[in-house]
Structure formats: C-alpha cells, structure tokens
Symmetry: C2
Subunit: 323 residues, 2 copies
Amino acid sequence: MTEKTSLKSLVDQHIQSLNLAEREPVNLYGPIDYILSLKGKRIRPILTMLAYQSVSGDLPQKALNLGSAIELFHNFTLLHDDIMDKAPVRRGKPTVHTIWDNNVAILSGDALFAYSMELVVKEFPNHAAALIQEYTQTCLEVCEGQMEDMDLAENDSATIPQYIQMIRKKTAALLGGCMSMGAIAGNASEDIRIKMKTFGESVGIAFQLQDDLMDAFPPEGFGKQVGGDIIENKKTFLLLKAQEIANPEQKEKIENLLNQKDNPEEKVREMLDIFEVLNIRELTAQLIEEYIQKARELSKELSREIQFEPVAAFLQEIANRKL
Amino acid sequence: MTEKTSLKSLVDQHIQSLNLAEREPVNLYGPIDYILSLKGKRIRPILTMLAYQSVSGDLPQKALNLGSAIELFHNFTLLHDDIMDKAPVRRGKPTVHTIWDNNVAILSGDALFAYSMELVVKEFPNHAAALIQEYTQTCLEVCEGQMEDMDLAENDSATIPQYIQMIRKKTAALLGGCMSMGAIAGNASEDIRIKMKTFGESVGIAFQLQDDLMDAFPPEGFGKQVGGDIIENKKTFLLLKAQEIANPEQKEKIENLLNQKDNPEEKVREMLDIFEVLNIRELTAQLIEEYIQKARELSKELSREIQFEPVAAFLQEIANRKL
C-alpha cells in the first residue's frame, strides 16, 4: 500500500515537474495543466511502472516517463471525449470545453497527445521503435472503441459481442497497453509480453462490467446516483443481456421503458424489476468472474516466470476498492 | 520535374496501399480515407524524402513511410483546423465535419495522428528516439501556431513579431520538421540538421508571406477572390505593417474599414488604396526577399557539404508556381 501511494506521489510530482503550466501560449497549455492537476488515481502509470519492474527487476521509477506518457494520453482522451459527450463535469470540476471552449479543448488535447510521444521513448531509446509501434496500436484501439461506443448508441440492434469488443477497445486496451509497453521497456520475451497484455485487457473488461453493474446495483454507501445508465438508455451488458433473454412481453416492457421520457425514477425502478426477474445481476457477475478467472490464470503462469505479484496485488487492491 | 512527379505518385500509391479505407469502424476510417484521397500536392513527404536523400545519398523512397507520416500529420491538422475555422470546403470538396459531424472529425483526426506515429519509426528503428523527439517538437509547434493564430484574431494590439512567430510555428515549423527528420533519418551531423531545418523554416515563412501578399495583390489569372483576408479582417503582415506606419488619419481610416460590415468590395478597394499609399506591397516583398535570401545562403553552405541541389530545386519549383 505504502509503495503504491509513493508511486502515485512520484507520478504526480513528475507530471508537475514537466512545467507544462509555464509554457506558451497559455490558452494551449493552461487547459493541459488544468486537467492534469485534477489528478485522478494514476492507475495507468503505476501499472506501467509495476509491469516494467516485474520483468526487469529494476526500480519502477525507471519507467516514470513511460508511465506518465500513458497518463497524458489518457487525459488527452478525456479532453476530447468530454467534448463529444458534452460532459459538463470531470472529476468534480468543470470540463475544459466548458471553462474555455470546444476549439481550445480540441487543440489542447492534440498538443497533450503530441507531448506524450516524446515521453514514451525518453527512457528507452533502444526500444523506441517497438514502444511507438505498441503505443500506436493502443491509441488506435482507444479511438476505435470511442467511435464504436458512439455507433452503439445509435444502433438499435446492438449485440453483446459488439459491446464487449467496444469496452475491450475503449477501456481495456489502454490497461493492456500499459502492461505491454512496460514489458517491452523491461525487455520481456514476446510470450510474456502477450500474456501480460491479455492479463491487462481481461482485468479492464472485468472493471468496466463491474462499473456497469454498480450503476444499476450499487453497493451500500456508494453515493452515486442509481440507474444513470438506465435513464440514459445506455447499451450496457445488463440491458443487452436483458433484451436477449426477455420473453416477448418483457421485451415490449423494456421497449416502452426505453421510450419513456418522463418520470426517470419510475423508469429505473421498473427496469431494475425486469433485471431482477431475468437474473441479470448474477449473469453479469458470472461474466465478470470469467474475465477475472482468465486474469488469475495468466497471473499464475506469469508468476512462475517473472516477479508478477506486485502487479496482481495492485489490481486486486483497485478491484477491492470498487467492489 | 519527372522525378518530382514520380515521387508524388509514389506517395499517393503508398498512402493508398495503407488500406485505411478497409479498416473498421467505418465511421472512424472512412473520413480518414476521404481526406487523404483529396490528395493535395504532397509537398511535405517529397521534401522529407529529398532531405533524406541529400544527406544519405540513398534513394528517396527509402524514407517513404517517414514522409507519409508527415503528410498524415498534416491532414490530421486540416481535419481539426477545419472544425475550429468552421470551414465548409477543403480542396474543393466538403469538409469532414460537414459530411459527418464535429465528433467524427475530432476522433478521426486523433486516429490519423496516432497512425502517423508508427510510420515515423518504421524505416529507421535505430533513429526512432531522435525522430520521435523531433516529431513531438514539430507537432507541438504546429499546435502552438494554430492557437496563436486564434489568439491573434482576438487581439487588437497584435504585433508583427507575434505574427511572424505565429506563421513560423503554424506553417513553417512543419517544413522545418520535414528537413530535420529527413536529416536525422539520413544520419546527418547536428550542424547540417540545424541548417536544413532553418532552411525549411525560412522558406516556409516566405511562402506564407507570399500567400498573404497574393491575397491582396494577386498575379494575373490567379483566379482566387481578391482581398479575402481584408474582408475577414485577418491580421496579416500587410495589415499589421500598415497599422504600424500609418499616420493618425490613415490609422483612423483603417480602423473604420475594420469595423465596416457591409459593402465588402468597397472595403477591399479602400484598404488596397491605403496599402498602395503606404507602399505595403514593396515592404512585404522586401521581407519575403530577406527570408528567401537567408534560405539561399543556407542552401549554398549546405551544397558544399551534401547533395542539396534537388531539395533547393524542388522548393524553387513550388515557389515559381506560387509567384
């Protein structure tokens, strides 16, 4: 725990030390400094650093720039996603496009992405080509996932495989990329790199499904609004599974609820009733368990070859906080 | 001429062969394929390839991916700039955000930028770190230039040095980047690389000033609307210089014209009259000549050390087409 806390401080300090706030023009770098100073949990850089350590045996801070690059990329995607989603708030604060405007948020995001490239190769010039290749593939998958998410929102016949592919790209690919890039920097074999990447992706899919589940069935004291996804007609696994296994009468009921514009509380309550009858909660938990199980097996295999425990422990800790 | 034409075909074919049109989701890659298929003159990749050849003596096509990367980056900036400028048309065709929408144009641009990274390092893994470092710096300057351009539009006390810095970043930095990255790939000394980069930037500034000049004083048969910049109150060198050297009476006249909303033809005619009286045409031509002269000197120096003539000849050819 203490080690993770100190890695987080290292990342925070390092990002601070890049002095992006002092660059000009201020309309370009101010918004970058703003979103980076909202902090966040820094899961991705810590994961990258631990992945690097697990294969190299080196201190994790040797991959501090590499990890920070991925954190910067993540924040770049938030800047642009928030424009696309017209989101007013991020991490409890107004979004960049709200404080400044869309143009500033587009361009600051572009600059943040550009800046991240150099950090990818800074510590590992000998692995620069392989790191950039993997970085490119990861970034493209994240963009594809965001587009597939927007496509799904418009698609009335969305399927569960489409949904799983979307979250694998939009959310899980970057966790896989952290593992894979940490592995490349640490000189891992191709076999180990792929196992680590698959591990990261499996955990990422499980996390996203868990997010969806908690939106409908929050643990006690969760604090967040219940059923936000239901109110917005978001095509989560829960809804898609319900539509798949519902009988004609239940299907019609779901359809009517999707078309219901007023009385959101009633809408949530009635949708949850259907989920309850169809056992959606357990079906989602089962699918999460499948991905967790896959990650556990990979973790076991990896632990025989490298010092993988700190990586697994870190993700377990995050999962516990979520559950 | 023939060689340049064949290099252009090589670039066109190579970009076609990336098969971006066949990737999914189509809403992400369709717009990318669309903007790349509008072609354009492919000046930047040809310049990169010739720069590479001039230092290495190798065939220019060995830097085909590197050159294409910069062309892809350039098109990414067009996608995003067109959103910011609310531009309906690009290269005679509707812009991406007009055919699709802003979100698609943002995200397709992001993916295009991501894709370009891998092409930067593909042919030169041993120079990957240095290439990415230079690429990052160039991309950041282009973003800074675009922001400074938007800032200048809102700034009633814009100065000529601010304007020159803006065009150096927004337009010239990428030409400098082509030269510099070609030099790195070709294993040039640091001294030669910097001279080549400065050469590219000087030519780029001259080109932009020439563009501004032709907007107000077009050569015969130019075809484009005269005075578009004047109608839009664009802060070009011409306007800023006129404001700088005008007497109080002329200053007031300029101010009134800037506030004039109707009768654009009269506005252009009267502004051109002031430019004529203040000798703005010659003053601009003199400044262009200064940058061209600087480029000529660097070209002479470089020709003593490397095979620089094809690079200089290519840019001369482009300049002739412009003048």
